[in-house]
Structures are given as C-alpha cells and as structure tokens.
C-alpha cells in the first residue's frame, strides 16, 4: 500500500488536501478530501443587522461572491416577505450580475485553473510565432515559476492544439477581466459586487449601460464559441480516456439558477435551468422538501453541537458531510446539465447533443472528468446567450428595488446554484438581528468527507477505483479533483443545520 498526499492542492480556490491509498496495482482504494481552513463566517454574522448578510457572506468566497450575495438576498427577501414582489428590473439585473460572474468563473476555471494539466507550456520555448514571444522569452530565463515545477510525462496535445490552448490561456486573462468589467456595469465593482441587496438591486438601468452590457456579452459569447468550446473538444479528443476516469457517485443535485418566474417558493420557482436531482440511471426527480438534506460531522473537526474542534480524533476535515435523502450527491455544472437534460430542457439537450456529436461518446460518458469540463463550457455558452437576450428586457427609469419593513422575528431561506453547485443560505432573525445564519455551499457537497455510514463524498468517490499510472506524477488525481472546480473558502462552515431549523423555515416567504 502506498499513500499519496497532495497538500496544497493548487489551482483551486482555497486550502485543500487530498490523500489517497494505492494498492499494489497503483489503483486508488481509499481517498480523503480535507478542507484545511476554517474562518467561522456564520458565527461572525450572529447579532448583526440581517441586511449586512448580503455584504458579509460575499466575503465567504472572492472567486464566486455573487452567488453568495444572491442566495443571501433571496434568503432575506423570503424572511422579509417580499420574495414574490421583486420588480422585474431587479430580477433581471440580479441575473445579469450573476451571469457575468458565471462567464468569468468558467473561463477562469478552464484556462487558468485546469488547462495546465493538459497543455504543455514548456513546449512554447520552441514556438517561434510572435504570439508566443513573451512566453518564449520567459521560459528561456532561469526562473520558471509559477509554471514549473509541475507533474511530467502526460502532455498529449499535438503542437497545433497545444498552441491554440496556450494562446487562449493568455487571451483568457483578458476575457475573464472583460466579464468582470461587464459585471461592474450593474454590480458597481467586482470582485465582491455592490449592487445586489435584499429587495432588488441598488442601481437603475440606463440605455447606455444596457447597450454596453449587450456588446460585452456578445464579445464574450464569441470567445466561448470560437475558443473555449473548440479547445474543450480538442482536449476531450486527446484525453478521451478521461471519459472513463473520475466517474463519481453519479447522483446529481441542483437548486437551479437564473430566475425567470417570481414564485415565493424557491424549490418551485421557474428558472433558466431547473431544480431537481437525478439518480445513477439519469432518472429526473423534482426538488423535494429541503428536510431531505442532512449533515454528518463524524469525520469533521466539529463536535456534535457544532463547536469547532481541530484536534478531534479520527476527523480529517473542516468540511461537513451533507447528504440528500441520505446519499452523497454531486453538484455543479455537470449536475445542472444532466438534471436539465434528463428533464427535457430543450436548450440543454440541443447544446449538449451538438457537442457530443463531435466526440465518440454518448451521454453516459458525461459522468467523468471530461464530462465536467464539457458541461462547464456548454453552460458558459447558454448563459452568455441568455445575457444578451435579458439585458434588452430591462426598462430604464423603472425601479429595481422594493422597500420593505425589517421584521423583528422571521426565518428565511435562499436557494440558488453557484458556478460550483447548490448553494443554500438559511437565517433566523430574532429581535431584529441575526440569531442564526447557516450556509451549505457547493464544495461542501463535492469535497465532503465520509459520513456516519462511512459513505465517501463525491470527489472521494470519483477518486476511488482510479488507476494512477505514475504515482510520482499523479495526473489522474489532480485532474479529477480540478474537474470539480473546488472552492474551499466556501465549503467550510460550522453552524448546525438543526440550530437553524430548516424544517421550520417558511418557504412561502
């Protein structure tokens, strides 16, 4: 038995440690995913003005702050009794701000966090085209960080594809910045926008901003169609074995995203991509009562009452183990796409089938490293298209915000999907301040440790059974983990669900 520990697991957000055990054939027989940073944001929220939550929870994660701001605003909307009263402008502006974040996130993930596992940056020393001048000069120097050291021995792209990917790696720095510029038109600034609040959005749309937003979205859509998706297909063709690596638990869960309707019950609200789950055979099931969500701390550094306990015996993570109907579920772009594919969402079925038709695989192969990477790209395209459409539905000079009374006592719940998957915020307001605030974030699902029944979390399940060709250069492990786009700052939270009594939370706002 050989043990491989990867700590720090880089090119993700935050502090993650991965530990695996290999048998004599170098097949992973056990895997542990550990979140190794704890900040206690939910404790910091207690006793504050409820409205502060939208600003403070965004600081849970600087890579994807908008989903936290959105979930928090939805949570307060429901607590304040205005979930079904947000003006159309407010709903659309929230979608535009959140959608810009998605476009930024997916480009960042594929090019800057993930592509260096597939593209060979060292080969740029031989590329004489002008586009590679700065990279070539850099690589001919002595100091090669942050690009080296790296794992060696499995870079398979031909030179033409490798050049395309590296060129777009550099261009993508600019493109994701443009997505952020677009976000700030209505979000004020970013990272950590200043636009979304309980009741709507603080700005009112103007014609100049509408036109500016639309053309930026079109430019990003072009990059997604002409660079991102073709690059993903190139990688998928050269690394086609990764359609059978990192399969995982195959059970998918999503809260859906981008509000189209205004139903007060977020489990049933009409959204661009709908809520629900699928089982191992891709059977679609609508999202059930949230009381189906449970959490275990058997292997987490917490006591049963929720107190942080970093020296607890047998525990190995600051992440808890959430389960839906008692089972581990995968969340994120793949979950959203498969749930919507299985439930017959026409746009998703068409877009996904179009990509799969270029590859020698079917829908079953989506349960894999490559499946996750493809799902993210398909989603980026669907969102960028929607942004161009939505922005013209704004009505200048109409309000984007509805005033409300601050309640003395109330419960709230906010559900949305973040780039990395299901995000739920729960709050309990007493004497006008936050008595309890609880967040279940996407990576809590994906990177969770084992639960009370010793059932592994989604990433752990995706690792177990994988053969590592070269334990000195364990590409398989880092490619599997990065395909989930983990975000550890989000994942770590403390408050016991039972404290915030989700079963009592009134979903009807």
């Amino acid at each position: 038995m050989q043990k491989i520990i990867i700590d720090p697991m880089t090119r993700i957000e935050g502090h993650l440690k991965i530990e695996v055990l290999l048998d004599d054939n170098n097949t992973i027989v056990d895997a542990r995913s550990s979140g190794v940073l704890y900040r206690g944001i939910e404790l910091i929220l207690r006793g504050r003005d409820p409205r502060d939550a939208v600003r403070i929870t965004q600081r849970v994660c600087g890579v994807c702050p908008v989903p936290h701001g959105t979930a928090s605003a939805l949570c307060l909307d429901s607590a304040f009794g205005i979930a079904d009263k947000i003006p159309d402008n407010g709903r659309i502006l929230r979608n535009l701000i959140l959608g810009s974040e998605y476009v930024h996130n997916h480009i960042l993930h594929f090019y800057h966090l993930c592509s260096l596992d597939y593209a060979d940056i060292k080969r740029a020393t031989n590329y004489t085209e002008n586009d590679f001048d700065n990279l070539r000069r850099f690589l001919s120097g002595n100091q090669l960080s942050p690009f080296l050291p790296r794992y060696e021995g499995d870079y398979r792209l031909n030179d033409e594809d490798n050049k395309a990917l590296l060129l777009h790696y550099l261009q993508a720095f600019q493109m994701r910045k443009k997505a952020h510029d677009m976000l700030s038109l209505f979000g004020g600034r970013t990272p950590i926008q200043a636009g979304i609040v309980a009741g709507g959005v603080t700005c009112t749309p103007t014609v100049d901003k509408i036109a500016s937003f639309a053309w930026r979205a079109k430019e990003l859509l072009q990059f997604i169609e002409n660079a991102y998706i073709p690059d993903v297909i190139k990688v998928a063709k050269s690394y086609s074995d990764y359609f059978t690596i990192g399969i995982g638990c195959k059970r998918m869960l999503t809260f859906g995203f981008f509000d189209i309707g205004s139903e007060a019950d977020y489990t049933k609200r009409e959204r661009l991509l709908r809520q629900g789950s699928t089982d191992e055979s891709l059977n679609y099931m609508p999202l059930d009562d949230l009381s189906n969500i449970s959490e275990s701390v058997r292997y987490s550094w917490y006591e049963e009452d929720g107190t942080a306990s970093p020296k607890k015996d047998g525990a190995y993570s600051f992440i808890k183990a959430p389960r839906y109907k008692g089972l581990a579920h995968e969340v994120g772009p793949l979950a959203r796409l498969l749930v919507n594919y299985a439930s017959g969402n026409k746009a998703v079925v068409e877009c996904l089938n179009a990509i799969l038709s270029e590859l020698p695989v079917g829908i079953d192969a989506m349960f894999s490293v490559m499946g996750r990477i493809i799902a993210r790209a398909v989603e980026a395209k669907l969102i960028a298209e929607a942004l161009v459409d939505w922005v013209y539905r704004l009505k200048p000079d109409e309000p984007a915000f509805i005033p409300y009374e601050l309640p003395e006592e109330a419960n709230g719940v906010g559900l949305v999907d973040a780039p990395r998957g299901c995000l739920a915020h729960f709050t309990k307001i007493e004497r006008g301040t936050i008595a309890n605030y609880s967040i279940i974030s996407p990576t809590t699902w994906n990177a969770s440790p084992m639960d009370d029944t010793n059932q592994h979390g989604a990433i752990e399940q995706a690792l177990v059974g994988t053969k590592v060709r070269d334990p000195e250069n364990p590409f398989e492990i880092v490619r599997i983990v990065r395909s989930f786009d983990p975000c550890l700052a989000c994942a770590v939270h403390l408050v016991n669900l039972s404290d915030s009594k989700i079963e009592e939370v009134n979903l009807i706002g």
């Binding site: 409205r51 600087g62 890579v63 794992y151 700030s184 600034r189």
Partner: protein, 303 residues
C-alpha cells in the same frame, strides 16, 4: 528590494482569505496580469512569482519545497505578499498548508518564517492589513493581520499595507511598481496605518460625486433614488481611498456610482465598526482614529 539580476522574487501566501484579492489583481489593466507574470514590471526589473496557490502549475510536496528553498536561499531577498488574515487560536490549526513529518504545518508557522526572512512584506487586502472579515466579532479563530502578527512575534521586516475588501488592482500594482522603482516607501509616503498616501490619502467623502447632495441636504431615502447615500449607511466620510477618482473594473463604475453606500472596506475595524452597514453612524458611534493604549496601534475607535 531588487536583486542584481533585476529579479523581484515574490512568495504569495494565502491565509484566512476568500481569494478575492488575488482575483482582483487579475483585473489589472496596464500592466496586465500576463505582463506582470511574463514580462518586466519596469525596465530591467521583473517579478518572479515563486509561489501562488491559485495560479502555480505544481502541487503538493514539490511546491512546499519551493517555500523552504526560498526561505533558505533568498534570505532577505524576496517579497512576501500576504493575502488573508492569520488565525492564531487553537495553535494555528484553523489554517494549514502542507505537512512535515506527518504533521500539518500551520499558516502561522509559514507566515512567521516567511515574514522573518523576507526583505519586505506587502499586506494585500483588509484581512492581511488589519484582520478584516475573519477577525469580525467574535473573531472565532483569533485572526489578525500580518502587521499585528509580526509586531507580536518581534519580527521587524518592513511592510506596506494595501487594504480593501478586496484591494483595487491598481493599488497593489502601484505598490509593487513603487518598490521596484524606488525601494520601500519612505515614512512620509505612508499614512499612520502603513498605507501609501498616493492611494489612501484622500477621504472618499471629499471626492464623492454625490457630495453636492450632501452639502445641500438632499438625502436618498431609498435605493435607486437621487441624493446623498448618508442615510442609507454610507461610510464614505470615514473611509480613505481614491475609489471615486480611480473607480473600479477599468474605471467603469464603483460602489457609490452604482447607488450603493460605501461600506468602509479599506479601514481598520472593518467589518465591526462599519456595521450596521445600512445605518448611518450616530454622533456617539462616529469612529475616530486613535491610539489603542493596549497595543500601541492606531485604530478606529468609537466616539
């Protein structure tokens, strides 16, 4: 600050952080992040980013080795960029990076060793500068900024604070360019909190485009309405930064132009002193810069 070969070696350490400051720096325009990574920052001088968990290609033991090498081989020859606060409670176990002899290495240990051996420390963001969000009441992890941490541990490496939640990319790139061109900022270039006056020398209120509303008493009572945002909780009159002049994201917008009050994210005491975010300070709660008698440190205090 710069070695003979023109190289400025940088170790970028992430502690109790949301990574927002790293992402913000990716939004740098001129120089762009690709310029910063691959080319010269100023003629003859380039940054060598030896360690950055979100961007670096390598993982695991090999990259921990880079930290060890840097400490040993580049004694006082590298810049430490600290992003995020340092959790000090529970022996520092609330944040660990890598392990040694089967035991996790705490961020606290990394920070102490890397700061001690660095020629300068840039505290990037409000968490690294002053503690920020993780140090908010009740500060569950004993989080503190690197400047305070160094003071408590008797580390006298010079430092520059670049606060903001997150920091503006220009503020960080500007601080780097300053160091590359002129060395560490002289005392008269910094304010009492160790921030470059160039960026943090002016009160937001003094340059606010809504100042005219304030002076004539026209107050916005609701989001989306004309008027000064004071009654909606704006903290621009106690916050020092050039946001109104520089703006954010390629100069497109900033909080107050978007109808959102300033939340005072560049100041020590954020978030506690600035809460409740959407209520104005009462006369008694108005924070003033004062010397904290216990720590000898300048900080915002109520009334």
């Amino acid at each position: 600050m710069v070695r003979e070969d023109g190289e400025i070696s940088v170790v970028w350490l992430q502690g109790a952080t949301c990574t927002g400051c790293s992402i913000s720096v990716l939004n740098a325009i001129y120089p762009s992040i690709a310029n910063l990574l691959l080319e010269e920052l100023v003629p003859g001088k380039h940054i060598s980013l030896r360690f950055h968990m979100t961007l670096m290609a390598g993982s695991g033991e090999a990259v921990i080795e880079i930290l060890n090498e840097t400490k040993k081989e580049l004694q006082k020859g590298y810049v430490l960029v600290m992003e995020g606060a340092i959790p000090t409670a529970a022996d520092g176990l609330f944040c660990t990076i890598g392990e040694k002899d089967g035991k996790p290495i705490t961020l606290k240990e990394h920070a102490a060793e890397l700061a001690e051996n660095a020629m300068a420390v840039i505290a990037l963001g409000t968490c690294a500068s002053f503690g920020g969000i993780p140090s908010g009441r009740p500060n569950p992890t004993g989080a503190m900024g690197i400047v305070e941490f160094m003071r408590l541990n008797g580390i006298d490496t010079p430092s520059v604070c670049v606060p903001g939640c997150p920091a503006h990319p220009d503020w960080f790139v500007g601080a780097c360019a300053y160091i590359a061109l002129f060395g560490l900022p002289k005392e008269n270039q910094l304010d009492e909190l160790g921030r470059l006056k160039l960026f943090y020398g002016k009160l937001i209120h003094d340059n606010c485009p809504r100042r005219g509303y304030f002076d004539t008493g026209r107050m916005a009572k609701e989001f989306g309405k004309e008027g000064c945002l004071y009654e909606l909780g704006c903290k621009g009159y106690v916050t020092f930064s050039d946001c109104p002049l520089r703006k954010w994201n390629s100069g497109i917008n900033w909080c107050i132009d978007n109808g959102h009050p300033c939340i005072g994210c560049c100041e020590p005491g954020f978030p506690d002193i600035m809460s409740p975010i959407y209520e104005p300070f009462s006369e008694e709660r108005l924070p003033k810069l004062q010397i904290d008698e216990a720590t000898g440190k300048l900080c915002h205090k109520m009334g």
